[in-house]
Symmetry: C2
Subunit: 234 residues, 2 copies
């Protein structure tokens, strides 16, 4: 398997490129609109054809590259049915398997950061988006965020994976690139080490976070798969 | 590829089983609820694991086996986003590729019989559901049926396929099993041989068809993927 972890510095976003060596088919997980030219160059250099862009959720901090990639490379955008992105080509739900060449993914619904969050599980790794971060988790104070739901998602859908499963998050703000389920379950300061649901809810509810700097631009654009809807006035 | 064309006699419905010989993964196209035990036996006998049930549309004449198969075999139900079946696991749109083992499908949106009709295209064959029949086509007088739209779907999305593409329809009432795109384009009495859009609309509008005998039972059940919604009264 061809694998690249790509970092967008302005919003500390991780994008993942996965390619099948046999069929030369590929997916991008959480592509960023400003990086599309770079992805195209990378795909061309590796001799890969982009089949799907897999979104872990509708992002509040950056605009997805899904629409630009669809226009340029004829890839199809994948998102959860509850994400509120009616523009997507393929709407998924919990437990659905997806295959691209020899790459195999299972969708796990992991709401709590947003209602439509999913993680994409492969045999040895999971892409957790903004549900589970390394030593942290996504915020739960907007976009139908719900700390109790996020706790349940992480405990039931992610911490139930084998402990050596690699964790690749949607962001990191401290220079970390990868963790494991075992490590996060034991040591994640927000909800590892047996921290209770009540403790987690209290902790998340006491966070005083800044208003996301790109939210007002990113949300409507991402609900349109990265394309702002046409103005309705003449 | 393992391939079986299955016929349900009460409603003259064709169901298709396709299996990948290498991975032993399979799909069923348009399974019927009363035939589920037979599908299970067939899959077991062939050593196949059912991954998806692919619906060409929400049927008015029989109840889908999708939910029963999901419960028994953990398969996932696939239907078009506009079909009005919110119960489905995977909602598709025009042009989306789907892969199961070495089986590869492309979804083509072919509305006109219903708004959410699709055909599933493989390299040498197409499953046309109730859009295109052998020497006929689906009716257009209920479920947002629209003869002009059906004409456009068939001409643009199906008759544009290579002429030797095999046509496997969702029903046949006259003992036919398979045709080709070339044959239907040349000789389909409703819209082959260059028949115009206006002629087709006039022909379809003049049909006086019986009310489908199972419509009142089949439609609500199929909108729930084969499971009738629980009664809302106490």
């Amino acid at each position: 398997m061809i694998f690249r972890q790509l970092f967008e510095t302005d919003t500390s976003t991780y994008t993942y490129l996965l390619g099948c060596e046999r069929t030369r088919r590929a997916v991008l997980i959480d592509p960023v609109d400003t990086e599309v030219a770079h992805y195209e160059e990378l795909l061309r250099g590796l001799g890969l054809r982009l089949v799907y862009t897999l979104e872990t959720h509708v992002h509040a901090d950056h605009v997805t590259g899904a629409s630009l990639l669809r226009e340029r490379l004829n890839s199809k955008s994948v998102v959860h049915k509850d994400a509120g992105a009616g523009c997507a080509d393929l709407l998924v739900t919990d437990g659905v398997p997806l295959q691209v060449g020899d790459l195999e993914f299972e969708v796990r619904h992991t709401p709590g950061h947003t209602a439509g969050c999913v993680s994409y599980v492969m045999s040895d790794r999971v892409f957790t988006g903004d549900a589970l971060f390394i030593d942290g988790c996504g915020r739960t104070d907007f976009q139908q965020g719900d700390p109790g739901q996020l706790y349940d998602s992480i405990q039931r859908q992610l911490f139930s994976l084998p402990p050596d499963t690699l964790v690749y998050p949607g962001h990191d703000y401290h220079g970390n690139t990868v963790s494991t389920i075992g490590r996060e379950r034991a040591r994640n300061p927000r909800l590892g080490g047996g921290r209770s649901r009540e403790e987690f809810i209290a902790l998340m509810s006491a966070l005083e976070l800044d208003y996301p700097k790109y939210l007002d631009r990113a949300l409507p654009a991402n609900r349109a798969c990265g394309r702002l809807p046409a103005a309705s006035h003449g």
